[in-house]
């Protein structure tokens, strides 16, 4: 049953945080000895750079001390372990690839020499070109990743099947019975607690399926057939309208049932596996874990499961299942006309997506403009806050500025006050009949009120401006801490090299900040895409644009972003849940694509296991 194995590749993480991927480092075997080989570009270029093999276990290897041999052109390999088989073919393949990579490296070095001679603008152009040239490669990598995922999935399923068959074939009789009666094997081995749990679970599942699960599943394909029937009541001598199916409930409980089925399948698999392990242990003459051990492990080696159980249950029930429900709603015609109760809703396929994404249709114009504004808004909201906040922090941090604490405290205080109070007040401050207009008229600066919230362009500028007002204190707080972490000697050394204040900012402060706060910037961009509060409380998405038409009784406006649009559609007079779901999914797509791109471009900086 030996699988043919591809060459063993390993991933190696370098101490400095960069990762050498599968292709660059490999574990190969030759003449019974395994070697960990390192391709040219992943070699240590500085002294004492350490690599960590297999980052989970914190096994660190100092590369300087390891090499036992050299490849013809100087690449290093080192002996790691002896092993069974000869794999000269693997070695040949490695050498071929090695040579290829060596050539690649030489080419890159040439390029690097060219690049170093370019001036600033040429470099910018060069980088831009490189960026766009890399795009196809990302896609290839992405598809490869997807392909690998499915391949692994297939392999996993096959492995499981083989394992099940073997367990049945070689297992003890109690294990075989456990295929039918869950927990039987555990009982047979004296693990009454586990056995009981398994048995209870099986009982509960079967009962649920018989009593209601099967019913929901059978209707899941159509989401109900009959909404209401008229029943003649003999006693009262009238016909009563009786509700039969409820699409909403069918969809919800259908999902739940499917979820239960998966959970049950997993439990069943677990049950078989445990019986197998028990068999193994008994066969090797050791004792299986008793119920007492199980109880002890709840607070000891299984403590993480104890900790996770309740929160994860909450997340599954109140976040994951509802989201799956709403995703499925996007493929139905669920709205105020088809409420699932008086009028059933049903599957409509991709119709909803068609109506919003088909070029030129009424809705797609609105969607396009709102999406554009959402991205513009998120971009400006993020970066204006970021740079201005950093600027303020630097002003306060500057040597020679007194009462630093005072300035900070005043700004921080504004974070504490609940946003809805300050934003609602500011919104009214700039209303047509608000304080600002009134003062301006009184001072004869203007004759008629400025329409801060009812003029499209002005409203956009206003929400951005007020957002800066909201965001600066927050960014000031974050950046202050990081700015103070920049080592002073960087500035001192640059001073000796002759840099002035601005050059110090551009060459030291900014790169450092961008590096450290890169992930934060992405996060804040995403949270600005979903920044409901500022838009809704200030302009409520207005001024309305009737030319875009209404969805769900809600007319979107100039400052409407996707999330407020979604909210308006959900809560409007003619609530249109299916479109709301579609928009929700589209927001997800936008956010996830952005994150993917950013994570691909960003140099892989700190990882969670970097520490210790």
């Amino acid at each position: 049953m030996k699988k043919k194995k591809a060459p063993d590749f390993v991933t190696v993480e370098l101490r400095d945080g960069s990762e050498v991927n599968n292709e660059e480092v490999m574990l190969f075997k030759m003449n019974g000895v395994s070697y960990l080989a390192c391709a040219p570009q992943s070699q240590p270029d500085e002294e004492g750079r350490e690599i960590v093999l297999c980052r989970r276990q914190k096994r660190s290897v100092n590369v300087d001390e390891l090499p036992v041999g050299k490849f013809p052109d100087g690449g290093m390999f080192w002996q790691q372990l002896p092993c069974g088989e000869e794999q000269d073919a693997v070695f040949a393949e490695f050498c071929r690839r090695y040579e290829q990579e060596a050539q690649e490296k030489r080419r890159k070095e040439l390029k690097a020499a060219e690049y170093l001679k370019l001036n600033r603008w040429q470099r910018f152009v060069y980088k831009l070109k490189a960026f766009f040239c890399a795009i196809p490669r990302w896609f290839v990598a992405l598809f490869k990743k997807i392909g690998r995922f499915f391949k692994n999935l297939g392999l996993k399923i096959a492995d499981n099947a083989v394992d099940l068959w073997r367990t049945f074939r070689y297992g003890s009789w109690s294990t075989r019975v456990s295929f039918l009666v869950m927990g039987f094997g555990n009982f047979a081995h004296g693990q009454w607690l586990r056995g009981l749990l398994f048995l209870l679970m099986q009982g509960a599942f079967i009962t649920y399926m018989v009593l209601s699960g099967a019913h929901w599943l059978s209707l899941f394909g159509t989401l109900g057939k009959v909404a209401t029937v008229e029943v003649y009541d003999e006693v009262l001598d009238i016909t009563i309208v009786q509700h039969v199916d409820n699409s909403f409930k069918i969809l919800l409980y259908g999902i739940l049932t499917i979820f239960f089925i998966f959970a049950f399948a997993y439990t069943w698999r677990l049950n078989v596996k445990q019986c197998r392990i028990c068999d193994e242990i008994t066969r090797s003459g050791k004792k299986v874990k008793s119920a007492k051990d199980d109880l002890k492990s709840i607070v000891d080696d299984q403590f993480h499961k104890t900790l996770l159980s309740l929160p994860v249950f909450g997340i599954v029930m109140f976040t994951i299942l509802p989201i799956i429900f709403m995703i499925l709603v996007a493929f139905t015609n669920y709205d105020y006309l088809h409420d699932g109760y008086n009028n059933l809703f049903t599957w409509v396929g991709l119709e909803n997506f068609n109506s919003i994404l088909t070029f030129g249709s009424g809705l797609s114009v609105a969607f396009g403009e709102i999406l554009a504004w959402t991205l513009i808004w998120a971009f400006f909201a993020t970066f204006s806050n970021y740079f201005l906040g950093m600027f303020v922090a630097m002003m306060i941090n500057k040597k020679g500025i007194k009462i630093k604490k005072f300035w900070r405290t005043i700004l921080v205080m504004t974070i504490a006050i609940p946003q809805f109070i300050s934003l609602l007040y500011v919104s009214n401050l700039f209303a047509d009949n608000g304080v600002v207009n009134a003062y301006l008229i009184r001072w004869h600066i203007i004759d008629s009120p400025i329409h801060f919230w009812t003029d499209g362009t002005l409203a956009k500028i206003m929400v951005l401006a007020v957002n800066i007002w909201v965001g600066i204190p927050y960014l000031m707080l974050i950046t202050t801490g990081i700015l103070m972490n920049i080592p002073d000697d960087l500035y001192e050394s640059s001073k000796i090299d002759g840099a002035n204040g601005f050059q110090q900012f551009a060459k030291i402060t900014l790169p450092y900040m961008l590096f450290v706060t890169g992930p934060y910037l992405l996060n804040s961009f995403i949270s600005n895409i979903n920044n409901f509060n500022v838009i809704y409380l200030l302009s409520e998405g207005g001024p309305a644009r009737p030319d875009w038409g209404q969805v769900g009784g809600y007319i979107a406006g100039d400052t409407t972003i996707l999330i407020t649009w979604l909210f308006g559609i959900t809560t409007g007079a003619e609530a249109n849940y299916k479109m709301a779901s579609v928009i929700g999914i589209l927001i997800f797509v936008v956010v996830s694509v952005l994150s993917l791109i950013v994570f691909t471009i960003m140099p892989s900086n700190r990882r969670e296991d970097d520490f210790s």
Binding site: F303, L307, P311, M326, L429, V435, L477, P519, Y520
Partner: protein, 338 residues
């Protein structure tokens, strides 16, 4: 001893140091080894006369820069504080209750505050009570949940950990409002909306609180693993490690989590408005006060809103300023960790 001596003499060396020194021959240095030359670079680019910037001039520019910064910061403080003074002033206005074109009241008084508590429409006490209860319960349970999840994900490498984290990441990318309608329907089945909305909201807050594990996890990641190991060698169970070692070390992040949990209900008006569904009794302060500003109410209740805002802002601000240190630790850590 003698044996040694003889063998040493054969190999040309002697215990007698003078003799040893006499044996040592040092030939004069190789001429190739001496090299130092004036570099062309230094002649052309370094040792040339150039004007020198004076420190005095720098000092003057520095003083000007500082003055400019003081001015900018002062203006900022005014701009940032203006709205809050505005709210406070307008809350003391007695002559009218609607929007007016000025900030300073013509007639000062506590009318609006009195009205806040006596007017049956505003129902402020109920809102405040609702929010306080939500804040207290949520902060406790949410903290427990978040710390549990972050600890488990930070300290243990179990099967399915990556899957769990990816799951939370992916589902976290969906906008939260998406599920409003479903949650409302579900909760109204269990009679947890309308008047009981606060309880429904507590359930929602708590149930999804595990998703916000990032910051606490980032903190736990920075605690050295050898502490755990030392405790294990000392005989502690995982639970004892959590409660006796890690939690006491995590005071800042625990307080931060509690603070966040407590403050969230005070600002949440979307969920609160939706779940209460026009039932005055079920509002929290945010939903309630926002309701006072709807078009039909604003003319009668604008100043009442201001008074309510002041009453809400004061305790929250005090609490926040007291625990500011922990808040800063939390957000900075979160931003750097990402």
């Amino acid at each position: 001893m003698t044996e040694q001596e003889t063998s040493q003499q054969i190999l040309d060396f002697d215990v007698d140091f003078n003799a040893a020194a006499a044996n040592v021959e040092i030939d004069p240095p190789d001429p190739n080894f001496t090299q130092t030359e004036q570099t062309e670079f230094r002649k052309r680019f370094v040792d040339v006369p150039r004007p020198v910037s004076r420190l005095v001039g720098q000092r003057v520019t520095n003083r000007i820069a500082n003055t400019v910064i003081y001015i900018v910061l002062s203006i900022m403080c005014i701009v940032w504080l203006l709205p809050f003074f505005g709210i406070v002033f307008e809350s003391f206005r007695c002559e009218s209750t609607g929007l007016e074109g000025y900030i300073f009241p013509k007639k000062w008084g506590f009318d609006n505050y009195v009205r806040l508590f006596t007017d049956p429409t505003s129902n402020f006490l109920r809102w405040f009570g609702n929010t306080l209860a939500m804040g207290l319960i949520t902060s406790v349970v949410q903290t427990a949940f978040q710390l549990a999840v972050s600890y488990a994900l930070s300290r243990n490498r179990f099967k399915g950990r990556k899957f769990l984290m990816n799951m939370m990441l992916v589902f976290g990318m969906f906008p939260g409002f998406l599920t409003l309608i479903l949650l409302y329907t579900l909760l109204s089945d269990w009679n947890l909306t309308m008047t009981n909305a606060p309880w429904g909201l507590i359930l929602i807050y708590i149930a999804s609180s595990g998703m916000g594990y990032y910051i606490a996890k980032g903190f736990f990641d920075t605690i050295s693993h050898s502490l755990d190991e030392a405790a294990r060698v000392d005989g502690a169970t995982q639970m004892q490690i959590f409660f006796k070692i890690i939690l006491p070390l995590s005071k800042p992040i625990v307080i931060y989590t509690i603070l966040m949990g407590f403050m969230a209900p005070w600002g949440d008006f979307v969920m609160a408005t939706f779940m209460a569904n026009n039932t005055n009794n079920g509002y929290n302060v945010a939903a309630g006060l926002q309701w006072l500003l709807t078009d039909s109410m604003i003319n009668d209740y604008y100043t009442t809103f201001c008074a309510g805002g002041v009453l809400v802002a004061i305790p929250i601000t005090i609490l926040f300023m007291l625990l500011q240190k922990y808040y800063v630790a939390g957000v900075t850590g979160g931003a750097v960790k990402g």
